[in-house]
Each structure stands twice: as C-alpha cells, then as structure tokens.
C-alpha cells in the first residue's frame, strides 16, 4: 500500500474477527516500525509487552478491562501494551547522543562534539530534565506517541486493524511483570477487522484552518484545493463518516456478537 493511502485508511477499528490470529511476522513488522521512530536525544523510550489474548487466563483478561475498553480487549486477538521507560534518559547519560555523533548523524557542522554533550547537554539539559517529572513525562509521552503512530500505520499497511485502548495499569503490571519505572500508555489492540476497512468513513476533524496557521496565530494556513484533490486521488483523503450504510453495518455487527444496539 502507498504511504498516503495507509494514512488515509487508518482509523480506530473496534470490531475484530476474534478467532482469527495475527501472523507473528506482522506483529514483528509493527514493532520494527515503532523502533525506527524519531526520538529526542535518540533515546528510545517506548517499550511494549505483546500478548496473545487467548494466552491470558480469563481472570487476567477480566482484570485488564476498563469500562470503556472491555469489549475491545475481548475481541482483539493481539494486545500490545505500550509503556514509556522513564529511566531511559538517566541511564543513557548522553551516550545515545554521542552515538549519533559517532555515526555521523550529529556533526561538527552543526556544532556537535562529545565534549559539548558531556559538559553542556547532559549536565545542563538532560540531567535536570530527569529530575523534573512533569517535563520528563511530557518528553517521554510525545516520543512514545510518535513511535506508537508508526506502529499503528504499520498495522494498517499489513492489512490489519488496530486501535489504541485504555487498560488497567496495576493489573497489567502484576500480570506482565512490568518494571515500576515504565509509564503505562495505551494498549494497541490488533487483529483482522470484522467491520469493513472503511469502518464508516474517515472520522470528523476540525476544519484545517482552525488547526494550522501561517506565520502567526490567527492567520489560517491557506488550504489549496488542488492539493486536496491530489490527496483525494492518492486515497489519503477519503469519504468522511458516516458512510450511508454505516448504521446497518453496526447493527449487523452488534447482532453477530450479541452486543446491545
């Protein structure tokens, strides 16, 4: 699938074929995509525990559910529990930056050196950040979000469906032996969609001009209709929800799974 179409087809899938397993190579592809994501200081914060739903004891699965995620957790055959490792920066002591210097990604042309990392970046920027929980959590969350997004897109590229879901972090910590310094984020639920890939159409979003500005706040970015047309042709921009048959689809799925309407 072309990149733009992958973006266009991604939407939260909440009805999975519960009995169809996901191939192991597809799960690995998703994780590989996450590992390559951009991250500040080249510190890879994202961690994941991958679980086959059917390997979970019934009481464990029950314990992981929240009121709004219970059904998703039950229908998806694969759960990826994502965490941000809050010790990554502290443990790296700037070495991940020095690795970037070694491989020619950060260069003297841009002012980078080992001495700068040791004397300035680590001591004045990174180390203080590790002692500021609010800033640390913000930094870790942003970078994990970037990596999770790549994982999501890789899932759709592999013909799967996925959605990010809440879970009970304390139950997960106990069930999976999660270290205390891993910050719980989301479970990415993965499986083959039981709903059509359109899943009712692209979800509503605020108007472009309310989100993005040119030069200064209040000056909306001018959205070029020619670009919109090109992105539509490339299937990045697709028909918005609801598609005319969506309610029928939801009704049919609800009846098939014995769910309320």
């Amino acid at each position: 699938m072309e990149f733009k179409e992958v973006i266009g087809r991604r939407r939260s899938i909440r009805y999975f074929v519960p009995y169809r397993p996901v191939e192991r190579e597809k799960i690995q592809t998703i994780l590989e995509a996450a590992r390559l994501a951009s991250c500040a200081v080249n510190a890879t914060f994202l961690r994941a525990i991958v679980v086959q739903r059917d390997d979970l004891a019934p009481e464990v699965l029950e314990g992981l559910k929240t009121p709004v995620s219970a059904l998703n957790l039950e229908l998806a055959p694969v759960h990826m529990y994502f965490y941000g490792d809050l010790r990554t920066l502290q443990e790296s002591r700037g070495n991940t930056l020095k690795e970037l210097i070694e491989v020619g990604a950060l260069n003297p042309s841009h002012g980078w050196s080992h001495a700068f990392v040791d004397e300035v970046v680590w001591k004045q920027v990174i180390e203080p950040l590790t002692r500021d929980p609010l800033k640390l959590v913000g930094a870790v969350a942003v970078d994990c979000g970037v990596a999770i997004c790549q994982a999501l897109l890789a899932a759709f590229d592999a013909g799967l469906g996925a959605c990010l879901s809440a879970f009970e972090p304390q139950r997960a910590q106990a069930a999976f032996g999660v270290p205390a310094h891993w910050m719980p984020l989301y479970a990415m639920l993965v499986g083959y969609p039981a709903e059509s890939w359109e899943a009712g159409g692209q979800r509503p979003r605020p108007p472009f001009g309310e989100l993005y500005f040119e030069g200064r706040y209040g000056n909306p970015w001018r959205r070029d209709p020619h670009v919109v047309a090109r992105l539509t042709a490339a299937k990045m921009l697709q028909d918005p929800a609801p598609l005319p048959w969506r309610q029928e689809e939801v009704k049919t799925l609800a009846r098939a799974f014995g769910l309320p309407e």
Partner: protein, 121 residues
Amino acid sequence: MAAADAFRQQTTVHTWLASLQRQTQLAPPAHQEHLHILAAFCAYVGQSPDAIIAACFRDTPEGKTLHSRNRQHYAAQIDAFQRQVAGDLRQQVQYGRVVRSFLIHNGVMLQAGWQYRPQRE
C-alpha cells in the same frame, strides 16, 4: 393497557426508545419486543426503569456521575437475568442485549463483551 402506557411514559423508557430510533432507525414494532423484555427485567429486579437508571448515578459536588458499584450490580443482574431466560443461547443473548441497550441509551456505560465466545476446553 394503562399499565403498559405508564411504563412506556417513564422518562428513561422514552429516552431509550427515542435514542434508539434516532441512532438505529429501529422500526416501531420492534419497540414492543424491547418493552416486553425490559418489563421482564424490571420484574426480575423489582425496580421500575426510572429507579434503575437513577440508582446508576449519584450526585457529587462536581455534578452527576456514574455510581460504579450500582452500575456493576445491574451489569451482574443483567447477566443473571439473561442466563435464566428459557430458550437457546441466541434468545438469552437477545434479552441481555436489549436490557443493556436500555441502560446504555440512558448514559450508563456497559460492555458485556462478546456473547458467543466459545468456551475454553
């Protein structure tokens, strides 16, 4: 008939049917089956529809919020109600999903899960 009309006029029943109609275009004849099932559940727990929904919420200084324990209580009651319905699994599930729909359309979040999940051997 008067009793049935009174039942139907309860605020929560009206809210449910109106919301269902809006969201799923449920045809009015189906309402009768829904009302019959809800009435059976109300008899089972000995509460009126309005009383069931009222019990699932509580007032707090921040406003009305879900009453977790009562919500769980009714979720368990629906499971039990469904199990005691005479008939096959599909009929039992239909009773459960209708009652859950009543609570859901009145703002009570419930997820009972996949009803046809095969039992593990």
